[in-house]
Each structure stands twice: as C-alpha cells, then as structure tokens.
Point group: C2
Chain length 156, copies 2
C-alpha cells in the first residue's frame, strides 16, 4: 500500500516496467472514431487538486501517430524515450530523448513514432483548456503544400 | 538557429549531453546562504506565456540534497534519472528513475542523492505559488523524533 496524504493524493507511485506506474490507468488516447490517430496511449501522471497544470505521458508504438490538431492552449512536451518526428506549425523535425517542444496556441501539430521504436513523451498542459480542432479540407491542402509536410502526414 | 514562434517561444530545444538543453540556463538552486542545500542545480524547462504550470529540472550531484522546506503549493515530481532518497511529511522513501512523488500542501520534504550517483528530477509547480518555509528548531526536533528521519537528515 502506498502512503496517501490527507486529501487522498497518493504520495509515492512507483515506476513499473514498460513506462507504467502503480495506480495510474493506461487510457485510450481519445474516443475511438473521434479523430484520426494510431497506436497511442495516455496516462495522466499528475492532475489536481492544487495543480494548475496537468502532466500526461503518451506512448506511441512504432508506426503510430497522435492526432493532427490545433487549439488555443499550449503544449509543453519533453520526449521521455525513443525517437520520432513531429510537425509543429509548418515545421517537420526529428525529435529524440529529452528534446523539448513548445507548441504555441493554434499551431497545427502531430507526433509520429517513425524511428522504428516506441516514442514516449511527457506533455504539460493547463488544467483548464479548450478542445482541439481538427483540420478541414482546406487546412489539409494548405499544410500539404508546405515542403516536407505531405510526406510527414503520409508517414513516409 | 532554432525556429521560434511569433511570440518568441523557442519551439524546438534540443537535449544536450549531461541533462542540459539548448537555450536553457543552468541556474543556482537558490541564492547562496538563503537556505541549507548542497550540490544542486536548477533549469527551468517550461514557464509561461500561456502556461499555468512550470516544469523545472533539478540535478543533485552525489551526496547533495535539496532544502528541507514546506509550502502551500503542490510539487509534482518525476525522477528523471538516478536514484536517491526523499523525505515527504514523516516518510523516508527510496526513489528511482521514473518514480512519481506528489508533495501535498505544507508537507515537509527533501530529496537526497544517496545512491552514489546524480539524482535528476522534474518538478511541476503552479506558476503562481507561495514562498517556501524553513523548519524552526521545534519543527526540526519533531521531525528528528520520527523513526528514520534523523538518519535521513544527517545523510546516513
């Protein structure tokens, strides 16, 4: 049994193998069918009470990807393990362990585990935040016209 | 040159060797003489604009320790590398890579790199937070009376 504080917070939650944690559920990334994504899971490591931010861990299996989306809230990302590629705004960039990525408001973004291994990252967000927007056909056309972006979106 | 977003945020900050990051200053943990600590440095990885939380990285060299203190704001800690020991409230506990520690309001806490290697951890806090309090003589007497705590505080 892990000691708990008076308000029910677990003080100590041990790391387990495979980037799991005691008492932390592995969740669906999003509701199936709500948006395009592949082979990605979510674990909420820290979330209220008393915290204005939330820290989540996402694991993308090889070949998988997060949803291409944008929103007003900021994403503050640290790659925790592995390597892959990400799109932020109009930039496609290789990322590897411990790299930092700051996703400013309304930046289109997506992470892909293109390195032949799982890509795990931490993502800090505000506890209060807006819902993501998906690209419409015009957004996708504009994005795909940027050099390198169509290849990224097609997983090549 | 790292691409920057319109508001001057650096989007991509690459990890360097030894837990340093491009464009991130290694800071003094606290002002020298302001509180007891030893062999610990601080890097602010993510901090506003648009973020209600801040993510900091602390590195404690072997034998070093953070300040024994408490405050109203919550600390949400992930051990990023190495191993050591921490005190939270009345509990002394070994910690190792990827373990999670939640430090509730007004919990006395201290981290020590007791494992013969550096101990690095991420700490999420609210951007707006109160200043830490140091223990007075009575607090220290009460803490040291708890089994195991005097040995911890003496680095044994």
């Amino acid at each position: 049994m892990s000691p708990t504080s008076d308000d029910g917070l677990k003080i100590f939650r041990d790391a387990q193998s495979g980037f799991r944690w005691a008492g932390v559920d592995r969740l669906n990334y999003k509701e199936e069918g709500s948006a395009p994504f592949k082979s990605i899971s979510r674990q909420v490591l820290f979330s209220g009470p008393g915290l204005a931010g939330e820290l989540r861990y996402f694991k993308i299996e090889p070949g998988g990807f997060s949803t291409l989306e944008r929103h007003e809230h900021v994403h503050a990302v640290m790659i925790l393990h592995g390597r892959g590629t990400c799109l932020v705004r109009e930039m496609v960039r290789a990322v590897e362990t411990y790299d930092l990525v700051t996703i400013a408001p309304w930046s289109w973004h997506q992470f892909r585990a293109t390195g032949g291994e799982a890509l795990g990252f931490l993502c800090l967000v505000n506890a209060e935040r807006d819902r993501p927007q998906l690209p419409n056909a015009d957004d996708l056309t504009a994005l795909r016209a940027i050099p390198g972006v169509a290849e990224f979106l097609d997983g090549k």
